[in-house]
Amino acid sequence: MNRRDLLKAMAMAGAAAPFIQLRAAQQKKYLVLVELKGANDGLNTLVPYESDNYRKLRRRIGVKATDVIDLGYTSQEGALGLNNSMSALEKSIGDDLALITGVGYPNQNRSHFKSIALWETGGDGNRGAQKGWVTETLERLYTPADHPVLGATLQGSMGLFARGEGVYISMARLNQLADIEVDEKPPTNNRLLNLISKRKTDLSQASKTLEAELDRYSASRLPTRMPHGDLGGQLTDVMRVIGADLGVPVMHVQHGSFDTHEGQPWRHPRLLKDLAENLAAFRQGLQRMGRWDDVLVMTYSEFGRRAGENGNEGTDHGSANTHFMMGGRVNGGLYGEHPSLKRLVDGDMEHTLDYRAIYDQVCQNWFGDSAQPWAGFRDDALKGLI
């Protein structure tokens, strides 16, 4: 048992609460957002494998009852099982893996671009939003001294940090950032000019710090070798940032493409397997580093996929979905209510939980943002999640 596990065990025994608090104050917290790009098929991930409705909807691509790990949860569609392509996460079931089901938003937008932008800004089909959903919280809670960079994406767009006022970067661009020419001009009375100047200075300084620190915490120092591949590469960098405790509170990685309009029976299991193996290795690495309690992993995706399969052994864009949350402080289990497969609306599952209820949990219970920006979406279904 390493030190972190020891502490955890002591905390559970009710003996070490002060230590935990002390450590929490010193060590930095990380939210790792895993974007399942292309829209994961939640219905073949968390499978209502006994449901007749499911069998009817998924005649050709349905996951067989023998191909799931029973989770011991039941729903209005009967027993639920995890696609056994994700067996690498078996150890986490009932421990630090939460499945949140029925997640969606009103008036589903089915465009990849538009819907992911909604997820990243906290909008819905009735009302868009402009600012990255977590940026206000970060900007409220963290000072540039401790946290020179508030968010980083290891792949993909800066959409998550849209309109952010602090320093947000793309990690793949570190080298590029270091070369930024900082404008040494004195402040002028032009607001925009001053803004440009400030932002460039921030970027330059932040990137220099990160680059130097990261060089010191190289991948070879990590206690786990991540699986080969794109996601593994991204998560390796995330682990380096956490290892060096650089205090980048939000990091974004991407995995996909889950846009399985066709060939789903062979494409989807491979994507899930890849995801599960990576997350399992990530968990193991962070546990060995004694940092698993400081990390919250959360998946998100444009939307779920259509309940009924299409004619190409695939699924089209749908609505409600199932998502994962993992971390040392996550209370594993099933959260939310699985949508009915009988009462579909235009062939889609109706969401039972607004996704912003998860944001509320993250901002309030993970980051401890007393402003509770997403409290309006709070949902008892997520009580005790973190």
Binding site: K37, R59, R60, S111, H112, F113, K114, A117, G128, T153, L154, Q155, G156, S157, M158, A162, R163, G164, V167, Y168, I169, S170, M171, A172, R173, N175, Q176, L177, I180, E181, D183, K185, T188, N189, N190, L192, L193, L195, I196, S197, R199, K200, D202, L203, D230, G233, Q234, T236, D237, E262, G263, W266, G311, N312
Partner: protein
């Protein structure tokens, strides 16, 4: 539009599967009323109390400011031209030359049409190739627009087009790959962008792209969709808080049935079955309003003219809020002019507000303004069109695809940290020495008979751009290998991450001159060399297509070898996407053979033939679902006995009483299915007529329907029966039998129709032949050979530049020195009249200054 052509002309179809067309115009709505007495800008100004500009001589900085703010950053010689002239002369010049007419010819595909429907039977490879072809077209359209902006003598015209694109947003990622909808939208904005706002608004409400983008196709009486109604009022025309939720609901009802054609060419159509004909109350007015009425209702709304004025203020004056009285005055001028956009603009340019120094450098140039302006002003043509396109995307502005319906933002929106870095990078790229950059390579054609082969590629760069080699097999076992080619506009995945969507891919066409002895090409291979990948980056090559001797085929029609070890299936599904070192090979002789077979004319065409591009199997019902069971068919163009249809649909069906019948529905034909509909035809709620003709004498009403038809229509029905054997073959070949027994059941049922059609009741005296011009088997290679019509235009990235080009930054410096007024003025004052900044001693300093971002 694909015209309905006489049979003889139909045979022109044989020349290829795409035809020359005219662009569908939004039909003129009848209800638009504009004030009869309209006022010119000067007449309005003479009677108004709007603070006017002082008509004094122009200084250098003023000239630069005006040209920058109304258009793009001007070059020094352009500025010089206006110094000391009266302000009014420059304003008149801008207004007199204001034009949104393209100066670069539109891409060919914009007046050809493609079939956006009836893809259900297509194999995935063909669908994928179809999507790719449409994406390539829009990629080409982005580059076309860029070249337009670089070449135009009316930068203000292009800024207005951009302004309307960013107002009536209909981005490509929300158009379901309908490149033609994108073009019609853009063309309508050009057509109406300087003229009557009433016409513009009316056109937008009938615009296929707008209707698709905002889901109005799903807006129908029984299930209203409010997306268009909401964005129309909130974003397009009035602004938030100038309407009620009830206005939105009622507007949605008015817009119900404002649809895009399901069949035939992509065009606006009113679907009677989806219309809501009951009374609505919108903005306090009551009436049985429809979509056309919406334009009129909005124009009559007091906020409409103010909304346009506010938006134009933001675009052409400042992101600082305008004084309320300014907007009131502008709005008044707009209304009095009869909603003339050019008049409103002219009034604005004549106002003291526009010339007020406090508004200088209070806005941020969009990436397009930054980039196009920097190129026009510096006269440096170091980047080709693809590279400019790529650069714009990196700065956050992929043309034709704003991030959402609210469009791109203003001001700080463009100063996002990630964008800022890319803005600097873009200026550096522009300044890079010619030769250091991969400069556009003008194609050297030695003779008009040169043996040319074009290859179109897109790609992703990591540690350098993708390189490839073109490999030919010709004659008997002769081989030719090109030199290594390097992509010029691959996306830098190290800095920007991978492409997020195929529609973003930037395509470039390279033209290779082959040695004259190469003839009889058998195979064309494109080999991706030196694959590379690392954390956060990946080097990949995508093969769009190859053109040789007027014939082009998509990369998707090829095969890939060896494919990635981890994803051999992927190489089969998308042979055109080289994620690992390997080769995409097109079997040129086979594809050419199939394509020529495809275009073989029918033997001795006769008037009694059913001639169509294709009798398309749209859908058939799975037998297990029971009830009414039908095979839904659609002629893509039909000619029969001298009659012509753009499309004609019918069904072979077995009704719930087990009777076999042919069904014809009024909304499935264009023009009308029948010369005269039978009196006994069943009429639905929307007044649409439906005819069911029993294959046997089942029922009295069904017989009556048939006997009430004209003799021509009776022959038509008999001819439809005669298609049963071919429809049976289509059913047999269909990949869409999703349940056991489906094939057998449908074979049996169709056999019934085959027998019936051959019986005395239905057989015509002369046997009817179904002549399909572009169909045949749906096999992969054959289908791919039919793709045709790839956009393979290649300017080599070379473009004309308004005001001319210079060879180097040093030449630019010389140009400045040669302008007496400019060489004596501190240059920073030309750029922006604020503070006391440093002097700009070189083009380099200027383009790298943060000031270049402002306007």
């Amino acid at each position: 539009m694909r015209k309905v052509l006489p049979l003889a002309v139909s045979l022109i179809l044989l020349a290829g599967c795409q035809q020359q067309t005219t662009v569908p115009q939004a039909g003129a709505p009848e209800t638009i009323k504009v004030p009869a007495n309209t006022v010119s800008a000067q007449a309005w100004l003479n009677t108004s109390s709007l603070p006017r500009m002082l008509d004094q001589p122009l200084s250098a900085d003023e000239v630069a400011y005006v040209l920058r703010k109304t258009g793009f950053e001007p070059p020094p010689d352009e500025v010089q031209r206006w110094i000391n002239k009266p302000r009014s002369v420059l304003v008149s010049h801008l207004m007199d030359t204001l034009s949104t007419d393209p100066v670069i010819p539109e891409p060919d595909w914009t007046d050809e049409s493609v079939r956006y429907w009836g893809h259900g039977e297509w194999p995935e490879a063909r669908r994928s190739a179809f999507r790719s072809a449409r994406q390539q077209e829009v990629s080409g359209l982005r580059q076309w627009w860029i070249s337009q902006m670089l070449a135009t003598p009316s930068p203000m015209g292009e800024r207005l087009v951009m302004f309307w694109e960013n107002t009536f947003v209909a981005g490509f990622s929300g158009l379901d790959e309908k490149s033609h909808a994108q073009w019609y939208h853009h063309e309508a904005l050009r057509q109406h962008g300087t003229g009557s706002y009433a016409d513009l608004l009316a056109a937008m409400l009938r615009d296929p792209a707008v209707l698709i983008y905002l889901d109005n196709n799903n807006n129908r009486e029984d299930a209203p969709n409010e997306n268009l109604a909401r964005e129309l009022l909130e974003l397009y025309t009035l602004g938030e808080s100038n309407y009620t939720e009830k206005d939105i609901k009622e507007s949605a009802r008015a817009l119900a049935g404002w649809h895009v054609s399901e069949f035939g060419d992509l065009s606006f159509q009113v679907s009677p079955w989806a219309q809501d004909r009951s009374r609505k109350t919108i903005f306090g007015q009551r009436g049985n309003f429809n979509g056309d009425d919406m334009a009129q209702l909005i124009l009559a709304h007091p906020e409409a003219s103010k909304h346009v004025s506010r938006r134009l203020w933001k675009e052409f004056i400042s992101i600082e809020s305008p004084p309320a009285e300014a907007i009131d005055q502008f709005a008044d001028a707009f209304v009095e002019s009869g909603y003339r956009i050019d008049t409103l603009l002219e009034v604005m340019l004549n106002s003291a507000y526009f010339w007020d120094e406090t508004y200088r450098a209070t806005s941020v140039k969009s990436p397009v303004e930054l980039m196009i302006g920097a190129i026009r002003a510096s006269k440096q043509a170091t980047l080709n069109l693809q590279q400019i396109d790529t650069t714009l995307a990196a700065m956050g502005q992929t043309l034709f695809d704003p991030p959402d319906v609210s469009g791109w933002g203003y001001g700080e929106y463009w100063l996002d940290p990630a964008y800022l870095i890319e803005r600097d990078a873009a200026m550096s790229a522009l300044l890079a020495e010619v030769g250091m950059q991969m400069a556009p390579k003008p194609m050297m054609v030695s003779s008009p008979n040169a043996n040319l082969l074009k290859v179109k590629v897109a790609g992703e760069a990591y540690n350098g751009p993708p390189q490839y080699q073109v490999q030919l097999e010709y004659g008997d076992n002769n081989f030719w290998y090109s030199e290594n080619q390097t992509m010029t506009a691959a996306r830098d995945t190290e800095r920007l991450g991978r492409y997020k969507d195929e529609s973003e891919w930037v395509w470039e066409t390279q033209t290779l001159e082959l040695p004259a002895e190469i003839t009889d090409i058998r195979k064309v291979g494109v080999r991706f060399l030196y694959d590379a990948a690392g954390n956060g980056g990946d080097r990949n090559l995508f093969v769009g297509g190859v053109e040789y001797q007027g014939q082009s085929f998509p990369g998707a029609a090829g095969t890939q070898f060896p494919g990635c070890n981890r994803d051999k299936e992927g190489a089969k599904r998308h042979p055109d996407r080289l994620y690992c070192a390997g080769t995409t090979t097109l079997d040129w002789s086979e594809l050419t053979r199939l394509a020529s077979q495809q275009n073989r004319p029918p033997d001795n065409p006769q008037a009694g033939d059913l001639v169509t591009r294709e009798l398309t199997l749209l859908w058939f019902k799975p037998p297990s679902e029971g009830g009414w069971q039908g095979v839904d068919l659609m002629f893509d163009g039909l000619s029969f006995e001298g009659r012509e249809w753009e499309y004609f649909g019918f069904k072979f069906a077995r009704n719930d009483r087990g009777h076999y019948e042919i069904g014809v529905d009024e909304d499935r034909c264009k023009p009308s299915c029948f010369k005269k509909w039978p009196r006994e035809a069943w009429k639905d709620k929307a007044g649409l007529r439906h005819v069911s003709i029993g294959a046997r004498n089942y029922e009295e009403w069904s017989r009556k329907q048939y006997f009430q038809l004209s003799s021509e229509d009776k022959r038509l029905i008999k001819a439809l029966f005669a298609t049963a054997p071919q429809v049976l073959e289509k059913i047999k070949a269909s990949p869409r039998h999703r349940e056991p027994g489906s094939l057998e059941t449908w074979t049996k049922r169709m056999q019934f129709f085959v027998d019936a059609g051959d019986s005395g009741s239905w057989r015509l005296d002369e046997p009817v032949r179904l002549v399909e011009l572009t169909s045949g088997q749906q096999g992969g290679a054959m289908a791919m050979a039919m793709m045709g019509g790839m956009d393979m235009s290649d300017g080599g990235g070379v473009y004309p530049l308004a005001g001319g080009k210079l060879g180097s930054p040093a030449e630019w410096q010389q140009l400045v020195k040669n302008q007496p007024e400019l060489s004596q003025l501190p240059l920073e004052q030309w750029i922006v009249s604020i503070d006391d900044g440093e002097r700009f001693s070189s083009l380099d300093d200027w383009l790298r200054s943060p000031l270049i971002n402002l306007k």
